[in-house]
Subunit: 345 residues, 2 copies
DNA sequence: TATGTTTGTTCAAACGATTGAATAGATTGT
DNA sequence: ACAATCTATTCAATCGTTTGAACAAACATA
């Protein structure tokens, strides 16, 4: 069973008594090779179970047809769906996609970048880990002339193509919705403001409050890592306030879930006593009771657009100077956790 | 900013007025190179921001230090955790991991294998798509002499190393637990029996019923794709039976969730009227109400062991003939959906 | 002093595929 | 019939790194 030695173009050449270069050209349909030879080569290639050696051709051509993707974690609806779309789009163009996950860790992210560059990928599509504040490793990608596209979590100081939603507007829309539900004291469990998207969500939240003449109170605003545990801890703190909020907007569904657990453990009616909205449209938000209102980040469009931005970058080499920022519309999904009117039905 | 031309060992050699081969040897700490030269080379390498070209060294060495992983979907607790552990273990050994997902599709799985082989990976660690019944593409991996390790979803006919749990015993334990809860008519929402693990779960279920003198009734046994929708559909059918079951054991948490939704929509008490157990310990099983009893497949151990099996294969080349089947103990997690005694507290 | 050993480096041939230039043979034009 | 053109192929260099063999110089041994 073991064909230990892999067949190369040399083997095909020998079998047909022609040179390896003729074989190479035949396989890539070079116009100057006769149809007869092409047919013969392809036939022998098949019978010998020939598989081109990617390493060799990539080395010679200076192009690996590999694209690296870095996500904070694959175990998330949003990211796995983005990745799926990137793969779908790029495979049509003959690229293979290498997926790596940083697990939200800065050092893992650095390692991932290092190994992707080492693998000689033709480009990198990435979303930053929560931990990341220094950007040297990303600058390193740029300095090597490797195209870099960021999505969802990116920073402005890093001057690269970006695809994501308008976090400011999304956040604004959430607060507007909660106001329309009659909420007056809206708390925010946010991500750390050193990350652009979380900063924008905080600003959107604050400016919405302002424009609706609702109070901005620091005791209602918390920054954290947005885990379930963080959600629980902060919700607990909010409940212990002399004047607890009547709505909570969490910048992640996981934090929202933690908050929801605490509310249920304290027998607080959702959404009537306290309304709740999350962010990202994780699968579980629609599965649990009450279902959690959230923001759909349009992962499919983001994935496809990220892939297409990369393709433009590699195909239009003269398009270098211009920078691309693509903002995709998000969608507020109103579910039971914040829909008071539904209770009247 | 753009360093268009990447630095190679030739550049380093020129800078120090030595030959490229001396540089290569210095960088890999060859014993015959003087410490003085090594230091100098490494210093210049750093200042020139030298990054070795993986393609060239892999081509020359005939080893890419890349390992491919194929999972049905990354968006799952079990698989993403396995992948994480594989990565953790292999990166210690200097390997980089390429993750691909088949999305449960046979054709995507074929493409993944093709592109991994094309990338010249040193090995492949895979779990089969649900759709897959023909195994030619896996045989192709073997015939190329590339080590192949299967985990969780593998077939016996494919004679390769395997890591997984004992599905038969796990299934048996679930039924035993349900019997201990006083259940007498236990239904099974199973996967298609052409897949080994689902077949074993069905056999475990049947033989458990037999050994506890419970009836085996075909109307209580259904094979499907184990999606939420399948769970809903089959649960509906089970409820419409003249004699509905008093327990349902689903071979996946998603199917269990679908069943749970139907039960709640019909105001059927869980676990008292109908007890429910799933499989895989997906995140949401502990988050929803009632929490779903399930089987923990020990993804971390499976991941680590799969990685280590691969390492053994590549390091002990003379270990060829022996075949490795590693069975990891699973763990039954009893939660509210099947714990009647808890209600008495 | 001749001989053997150690040390540090260079040489040259790979790895497998690609590609522009060179070449030989067939075909066309005048 | 001789040059010009076209066709199908071979030649040879190249991508960047690795590695065993070769080599020269320095050193130790007898």
């Amino acid at each position: 069973m073991e064909n230990k030695k892999k067949t190369t173009i040399k083997d095909i050449a020998k079998a047909l008594n022609i040179t390896p270069s003729a074989v190479s050209k035949a396989l890539s349909d070079h116009p100057r090779i006769s149809d007869k030879t092409k047919k013969a080569v392809k036939k022998v290639a098949k019978t010998l179970n020939y598989q081109p050696n990617h390493l060799a051709s990539a080395l010679r051509k200076g192009k690996s047809n590999l694209v690296g993707v870095i996500v904070p974690r694959a175990n998330s609806n949003f990211f796995s769906s983005v990745v799926e779309k990137i793969e779908e789009r790029l495979s049509k163009e003959g690229y293979n996609v290498i997926i790596t996950q940083s697990n939200e860790s800065f050092s893992k992210e650095c390692k991932n970048i290092e190994s992707l560059l080492y693998t000689q990928v033709d480009g990198i599509i990435a979303s930053m880990a929560n931990e990341t504040t220094v950007l040297d490793h990303y600058e390193n990608i740029k300095s090597k002339g490797v195209p870099l596209i960021m999505f969802d979590r990116g920073e402005d100081t890093l001057e690269v193509d970006y695809v994501g939603i308008d976090d400011y507007n999304s956040s604004f829309a959430v607060v507007e919705h909660l106001k329309n539900q009659g909420c007056k004291r809206i708390a925010h469990i946010g991500g750390y403001s050193h990350t652009r998207i979380y900063k924008n969500r905080i600003i959107g939240y604050k400016e919405a409050l302002e424009s609706f003449n609702l109070p901005i109170e620091n005791e209602l605003i918390h920054e954290c890592n947005l885990t379930i545990e963080d959600g629980r801890r902060i919700m607990q703190q909010l409940l212990e306030l002399p004047k607890p909020p009547d709505a909570v907007f969490a910048a992640s569904d996981f934090a929202a879930l933690g908050a929801l657990q605490i509310l249920e453990e304290n027998n607080i009616a959702i959404p009537n006593d306290i309304a709740l909205v999350g962010f990202s449209n994780e699968t579980f938000t629609s599965l649990i009771k009450p279902s959690i209102s959230t923001v759909n980040q349009r992962s499919e469009r983001i994935g496809t657009l990220a892939a297409e931005t990369f393709l433009k970058r590699v195909n239009d080499t003269n398009w270098k100077p211009k920078l691309n920022k693509i903002i995709v519309d998000s969608e507020l999904i109103i579910r039971d956790s914040s829909n008071k009117s539904k209770l009247l039905d």
